[in-house]
Symmetry: C2
Subunit: 394 residues, 2 copies
């Protein structure tokens, strides 16, 4: 007789558990210094402000906020986002916005809405693991966007659009995992090509507000609003434990996400949405972002200077102006997974870079890379951890 | 040049917007008496208790609860559910539980985990629309379970298992839309067949605690724990605006749901999960359920007596012992959708029964049926609404 587990769908059997999530379990063991996660610093969470938001909501909204809500999102939150984003994201209207259960759900809804089995989609090398996890379920064929110092090359973007990819997925500001930012010149080229070939850009933008130096660069959405779906998140500017993200784009495309979401979870927590609304409209958000930036800036600086001081000269790394990650390329002879085993024995965790490459990438690419998170560890501990990793490299 | 909307996946194009959600928009217009939604009464939401839960959480859990969480669910909530459900659901362990973003997400994760295109799954006639919405995306072939007074017939269940359906989906207690409950005798037969044929039962159980008369009946899970995934919800005993549900079953099967959820939304709101934990462990939940039951019982009685007083003799309806809905079968000559147009002009809304039948049902089946919700309207208003519908039937 067959076993009940034989009833599993082919899709779910082929979906490996998220390596990062498995790793994170290790990284939360006591005494571990973890540069592995993509965690904001808990001391950055405005818990007292959240308490005040809750008090206000329960006093002023009464029971309404606890009832079933509409799928596109709490109207008050959509209006608050409109006011907040109108300056940076042109042409947006109430119908341009879909609230999602974290940014991860936005990625899943994008997958549902645009990918049929075998469809081509384009991603950077390396790219965000959570996006691969979301998209993989819909069985796309990956088209690789090769990067140079300014971002994915114009040539590879053009090739992708000519190959009729359903969309190109980009993290334009302080990418996960690379920390890189696409230059304004390259953004303009990408926007031009998207318009020329009627291509779709998915611009994942969870880190844009976390800029520690340099100047704000217009988003891809701003340069090609009709051709871009912009994904935002409250995880880095409020708290990830409230699962809140949003997709902003052409209402005709956003409508697909709304239909997809009806089956997926009907609507996002009304209570969490109300908290975010109050957080924006009370002015707390604008007030709080500079505090997060002030907390993270010295952590990034500590990481970059420790890398400079301790890491071997034949390795190199990115110099992010914001976000949460530095990406290191070690000498070709070093396998980052093997290195991790050694550093774990000395209670230091990081993430090997390999999982951030799509299945289409060459098998050996990225083996000598690693992602280092700097937001969840104080500067002096970062320095200590980098020193330990450097010792194990030698 | 092609239009950007042409990039939509075939799946999303074939997914019609949820008719019920569209209807609900109408039903929330001012002055409408709505028996249409599946809404709990807002006065049943324990808002002051939620405020107290939040105060306790922020005082005792600090920032931790706002950090990224694990995909299977907040450990404290899983432990609280274990204690709460252990008596009714035998053999459950920590690994048996997956927390979901509302019960709707559990249905989606079931679809992801078990349905490949063309796979057979079995549902009752009629069945829950939200389940059809979730499952349809994965393109199953529906196998119809014909009901008699005791539930889906043993014969049809046997046929379904022999046809190798991936699972049978049942709402055993006070079903949506029918209000019917499967008899103990029939449950035992279903459990026997599931074991005999190694079949999988999805037991959706959001209403079990809302019993207004009669005696508790053991769940299908209790009768066939190895063969059943049990879905529960906080929407009816706490509030739907906190999106919280759970799946309980054989850990080997639950593991698939966890993998599916990683891509879908990573994890469910930690803040909402902490509120539910506090709500259970403080004893508030057990205290609050009798109050909800006391609120809804007279509403059900008002609906049944008004139907008796006003509806034509050649119509008939279910006599639920709990839940939220009464299901009415009108004379064959009456089309409930046409009737709705008339009653809407008199400011009364209900839901025609047709959408609750899977695509596999005969085209004309259910045209003369309707679902009436009694939980969100006071008794005297229910009476008035039923009278108006009855007048429009004549």
């Amino acid at each position: 007789m067959s076993h009940l587990t034989d009833k599993a769908s082919v899709s779910i059997r082929k979906q490996p558990p998220n390596i990062l999530r498995e790793l994170l379990k290790q990284a939360t063991m006591p005494d571990i210094i973890s540069l592995a996660g993509g965690f904001p610093a808990p001391e950055s969470f405005p818990t007292q402000i959240i308490q005040e938001c809750v008090n206000t909501i329960i006093k002023t909204k009464g029971t309404k906020i606890f009832q079933y809500g509409v799928t596109d999102g709490l109207a008050e939150l959509k209006h608050a986002l409109l006011d907040l984003k109108r300056r940076d994201l042109n042409d947006i209207t109430f119908e341009s916005i879909q609230i999602t259960t974290g940014s991860q759900q936005a990625l899943d809804l994008i997958g549902r809405s645009f990918i049929d089995k075998g469809d081509k989609i384009a991603v950077e090398l390396p790219t965000y693991l959570g996006a691969l996890q979301a998209f993989n379920f819909y069985k796309p064929v990956y088209f690789n966007l090769e990067p140079d110092e300014e971002g994915p090359t114009t040539e590879s973007i053009k090739k992708a659009f000519l190959a009729h990819v359903k969309f190109i997925y980009l993290v334009a500001d302080f990418a996960n995992p690379s920390g890189s930012t696409i230059s304004l010149k390259r953004r303009k080229e990408i926007a031009f090509l998207a318009k020329k070939y009627n291509g779709l850009i998915i611009e994942d933008s969870p880190y844009k507000d976390l800029r520690y130096k340099g100047k704000h660069i217009p988003s891809l959405y701003q340069l090609a609003p009709h051709n871009t779906i912009y994904l935002g998140s409250f995880s880095k500017v409020l708290a990830p434990g409230l699962r809140l993200g949003y997709a902003i784009g052409n209402p005709e495309l956003i409508r697909f996400l709304t239909i997809a979401k009806q089956g997926a979870d009907l609507f996002t927590s009304g209570f969490d949405q109300a908290i975010a609304t109050e957080y924006i409209t009370s002015g707390a958000l604008k007030n709080h972002i500079p505090k997060i930036v002030a907390l993270y800036r010295p952590r990034l600086e500590a990481m970059l200077s420790a890398l400079e001081d301790y890491f071997p000269k034949d390795s190199h790394w990115t110099h992010p102006e914001g976000g949460m990650f530095v990406w290191v390329t070690l000498p070709k002879t070093i396998d980052a997974s093997e290195l991790l085993k050694k550093t774990l024995s000395r209670k230091v965790a990081f993430v090997p870079g390999k999982p951030f490459f799509p299945p289409s990438a060459r098998p050996k690419v990225g083996l000598n890379t690693m992602r280092l998170n700097f937001t969840n560890t104080p500067p002096e501990v970062i320095r200590k951890a980098i020193k330990i990793i450097a010792e194990e490299i030698r």
